[in-house]
């Protein structure tokens, strides 16, 4: 037993003796006291752990394992290879395109709006109005959002009709709300506000003094942005981009209500597969689900990697 062991133990004991259920076990030898305490410690988080295992982790693992098995339960990579078949590959491709476009556009537009309301010298009400509205709009997704955009940009939507009355027919110029750009434009309705809500505190964190300090040291406006502002907001910006990406990559309700199944994004293919095994291969369905987790997971790994790199650099 290392010297000081008892001392440390005693200190630990008094520290938690009051709040500890093991208070009564004070007279026991340390080893026994620990033995009786440890399980009760963990008991406190047991419901959560069990819930997370049963309803979050195990169902996901089940699908991941299924993606690597054939119908007889034998290990195979066949399902993963099958993902390359044209319809599925096209679905992944359009999903990735919509998610990348809506997350990047949403991130930059959201950032611009956040900078405008924090740093742009606008009256105070614009800030509170924007933040309140963003809070609402970031949660306004799903089926109702699709309805709103159909009423706006659908064939009989207000904007379409107004533009047509001034001689500009959107639909003859190749626009369709049931298309890649239509869907991206719709997703921006919750992507931009989400960015605004998350990034505004980060921009608030940029002190006025930093700009003054940089100016005193002779930095140009561009240098100030490149060397001070961007490194400071970079991690939260990147994190939000990843969040926005995952947000649109997994979304199905809006697309389903908007386009029916005319735009085959991955969640819609998976939805059809769950409903009626349209691929006639249950394990291929698992592989599609695995592919979705893989992509959102990969995005997160990139985020963590970028973040540790940028943090190291900041030090």
């Amino acid at each position: 037993m290392p010297p000081g062991f008892f001392l440390k133990r005693r200190a630990g004991m008094t520290d938690i003796s009051l709040s500890g259920p093991a208070a009564a076990g004070k007279t026991l030898p340390p080893a026994q006291a620990r033995a009786t305490r440890l399980p009760t410690q963990w008991l406190g988080v047991a419901p959560f752990i069990i819930f997370a295992l049963m309803f979050l982790i195990l169902p996901t693992l089940y699908l991941i394992l299924g993606a690597f098995q054939n119908a007889d339960g034998v290990f195979t990579l066949e399902n993963i290879v099958e993902l390359a078949q044209p319809t599925i590959r096209a679905a992944y491709w359009i999903s990735i395109k919509v998610s990348v476009a809506s997350s990047l556009l949403g991130a930059f537009i959201g950032l611009a709006i956040a900078i405008a309301i924090v740093r742009g010298g606008l009256p105070n009400w614009t800030r509170s109005a924007t933040l309140t509205f963003s809070g609402v709009a970031s949660q306004f997704a799903g089926v109702p959002l699709a309805f709103a955009f159909l009423a706006t940009l659908g064939r009989l939507g207000l904007v379409t009709v107004l533009l047509r009355s001034v001689g500009f027919d959107l639909y003859q110029h190749g626009f369709n709300v049931l298309s890649f750009w239509g869907l991206t434009l719709t997703y921006l309705y919750f992507q931009i506000p989400l960015m605004v809500v998350i990034i505004t505190p980060a921009i608030d964190g940029i002190r006025k003094e930093w700009g003054e300090a940089a100016a005193t040291l002779g930095a140009t406006q561009w240098q100030y942005w490149r060397m001070v502002v961007i490194p400071v907001i970079w991690p939260s910006f990147l994190g939000t981009v990843i969040l926005l990406f995952a947000n649109s990559f997994g979304a199905i309700a809006t697309a389903y209500a908007l386009t029916g199944s005319s735009l085959n994004i991955v969640p819609i293919v998976l939805y059809a597969q769950i409903r009626g095994d349209v691929l006639h291969n249950a394990n291929l369905g698992y592989a599609i689900a695995f592919g979705m987790i893989f992509i959102t997971g990969l995005a997160n790994i990139f985020y963590i990697w970028f973040r540790t790199r940028s943090e190291r650099w900041l030090k």
Binding site: F48, T132, Q139, G142, A148, A151, G157, L243, I252, A253
Partner: protein
Amino acid sequence: MKSGKFWAWITFILGAAYFFIPLIATMEFSMRMKRGEYSFEAYRVVLGDPRFQESFTFSVVAAVFTIILGVLLVVPTAYWIRLRLPQLRPVVEFVTLLPLVIPAIVIVFGYIRMYGSNSPLPFLSSDIGTSALLVIGYATLALPYMYRAVDTGLRTIDVRTLTEAAQILGAGWTTIISRVILPNVLIAVLSGAFLTFAIVIGEFTIASLLNRPAFGPYLQNIGANRAYEPAALAIIAFVITWGCMSIIQVLSRFAPKSANRPN
């Protein structure tokens, strides 16, 4: 700086236009049901539809159960992590963030395969079991928001002192959590609850794949079959979301700001 202000206004106005035009268009569209005049006919039809009332009630009940389950799950865990197992915090935080990474459709797919009628835990073999699974799925979706809200609330109180004080007075764990900790983080819990409500009330994916008569699938069904009612429903849904978010804002004014009370 003058030009900066100019661009700030341009950004703000363009943003406002993008966000208000769809709302105005939807409002206008929803009022066009009667030919040649604006009316609230579509709203009357929607609100009078018994399927609307049934599915909406179902979703409200599901949301209430989701909130109860979420609170029961999150409050003791977040409390215990703060008090006793701070070393477990990164793990629990990671788990609570997983629903943002794993899409809802994947989670529910897993449920369908794991809890079918032939499984050891046949949730899906009965109506009530399926509804329970729906509530569980919703609680999973709301987990990131609920956990963050409660954890922020716990940060503003001195968990250890409160616990010890309660223990000196002879309180057990249930009493401590329900009568000491919960009232102290009530504002945070309510914020999480209303956010959960906003997320759950119109949720489509899980409800539809579990075949529940919820509001989300009803919305989708109306959207596929009607012209003006969907616009009216979109406005109603927007108002509900707005209501939830306003309540959260009002609540946040009551939240204890004196996080570092000197004790």
